[in-house]
Symmetry: C2
Subunit: 350 residues, 2 copies
């Protein structure tokens, strides 16, 4: 190991008072971006641009494939609309779909805590298998590790996935252009509020179920419709607002229309009651698509034809940046800045 | 979720008194095999045969590739000869190499415990980057999650990897045949004893360093030499004896020669002192190769030409099974059964 500054960074890693890992470092917000841009990207010599993407795109024998990984530490393990098993499949399958790939193979690696009931392991595994079948992927390899009691939390799951890009479109953040329409695939903030409700034992007037779902089929519909899809992004940790902040490039800004963003009434009520902004709440079955404005209406129509995207809507546009990277035009016409929060409002959401 | 017996197994999952996960379920021994064969394989509809392999072999556009995953929970995070970062690279790269693939891309997914020092995260990350460079692989995608203090142990790392199989050999457990020679690539039991020593603060006469190393280059040497390599297997959790037990098919047995198995004197001494059998102690830079007897001498010579395999030796042969699947001919000529232990002698070895 080399001495001194092992990354040979031009300046030492700024610490910002944080010498230890905080929950917020895993929250998809500003602190996590800091970790990525100041530690992981330089160490692994990754292009920040390539990593603004959910999956790596590599070429094997002339065929483009997407490759991605995610670990799942959601708490509780089961929640309305899913569990850690189905979530672990959806999360990885969706990262592949966002690169325009058809997900095909995934891995399943468990870190089990000593004392975890075998019954629960069986339930999670069966759920994972069912979610994989539903998403059209095969679990082809895996791993099991066990850690001492008090060094885990029942079960953590990592999935990695491989998908094949079977078309010629380049779907990537750098293709986002001024004038693009921003389309959201459905109502937002359900996953986060479902977790929150089940974690805190809250009961709302109606049950809020997670939106967790595999998104390859609507993406395929979009691609097959001939739409010139510029970029796709699923709205996980940090929600819609954080995803938009990650994607707004230097010279571009994203202007969202508050009134156009679908949020279910019960979800909005739960958010208000608990002090959450639905635009920052995590989803696990929602994405945004950037397409040229002229193709936006048709793209929405195509998406609405898929049961997972019945509420798809145009929610904003890409404009030249003047002030902040992401702005929200509220119902009274004012524009408010949607900043990157330091971390996720709800830790261990996925 | 379906009710009752969700796997539709012909008989209910036998529990053997274990209703909870034990440390031994992660140890690479009989309990882990039970979990694989009774839960994961049927749930994921995996062929047990395909999973006797370290990596899945899939085909993309006519090109065979290998895909694998491993999580690393080694304790302590740093040990003589490596750390969790280098180990996480070697483990996955080696699983790909064992399928005869040239490792190319890997992922890096961290599960961080709140409060873990950023300094240590940097050290581990730099080590991972260096190991990847040394092994000729690129880290192309990643993930970071943070769990509450007391729900992790500093850092756990998952790596998944993709390698390209650039030759026509089929290197897989089903090709092991009667008469094959069993070649081990070097002295065994160092990784486990290095971990043990650093965990317990033991000092032996000489420092025992882990053998952790990337094994793609000796495998490539072997393949390029034209040897008809039937099967390869790295000797991780459970060591040489467990690997042989996993590979001995119904009608075949593996007969090892005790005197031929290279074990360093200091390692043997440490094992004796602590009551470990070196044949069951984990390695992270050692493998066995099964080749036809007629090609064995040449294969050993080829391996010895690689600095990682200077002590390669023929240590046994594949014979028709008469009694146990794995036997050890001791120096006095008696044959003793090498059984699968229920778990690893040393938990959290990788």
């Amino acid at each position: 190991m080399s001495e001194g500054n092992p990354l040979n960074l031009s300046c030492p890693l700024p610490r910002n008072r944080h010498n230890h890992v905080l929950m917020a470092h895993g929250g998809g917000g500003a602190l996590m971006q800091k970790l990525l841009h100041e530690l992981f990207f330089p160490a692994f010599k990754m292009q920040a641009g390539s990593l603004a993407h959910d999956a790596a795109v590599i070429e094997i024998g002339g065929q483009r494939i997407a490759f991605t990984t995610d670990s799942f530490v959601v708490k509780p393990l089961r929640f309305p609309g899913g569990d850690i098993g189905s979530l672990a499949v959806h999360g990885t399958v969706n990262d592949l779909a966002m690169a325009g790939a058809q997900p095909q193979w995934i891995s399943a690696a468990y870190i089990l805590e000593e004392g975890f009931p075998i019954d629960e392991l069986e339930t999670v595994t069966v759920s994972m298998a069912a979610a994989a079948k539903d998403a059209g992927v095969t679990i082809v390899t895996g791993d099991t590790k066990v850690v001492d009691q008090g060094k885990g939390d029942g079960v953590y799951i990592n999935t990695a996935g491989i998908g094949v890009i079977a078309h010629d479109l380049v779907i990537a953040p750098h293709r986002i252009a001024e004038g693009d329409a921003v389309i959201v695939s459905g109502d937002v903030a359900r996953h986060g509020m479902a977790i929150m409700a089940s974690r805190e034992g809250l009961e709302f007037e109606s049950a809020i179920e997670s939106d967790s779902a595999p998104l390859a089929s609507p993406v395929q519909d979009l691609v097959e419709s001939g739409a010139d899809v510029h970029c796709l992004r699923d709205l996980t940790r940090g929600g819609l607002a954080s995803a938009m902040n990650e994607l707004a490039r230097e010279e571009l800004a994203i202007m969202l229309e508050e009134a156009a963003i679908p949020v279910r009434e019960d979800v909005r009520g739960a958010c208000e009651m608990l002090g959450f902004d639905p635009l920052y709440v995590a989803n696990e079955g929602r994405f945004v698509a950037f397409v040229p404005a002229a193709e936006a209406e048709k793209a929405v129509e195509v998406l609405r034809g898929n049961p997972l995207c019945a509420d798809a809507a145009i929610v904003g546009e890409v404009v030249k940046r003047e002030t902040a990277p992401v702005l929200l035009r509220t119902s009274v016409g004012a524009a408010r800045i949607l900043d990157l929060l330091s971390g996720e409002q709800l830790p261990r959401i996925c």
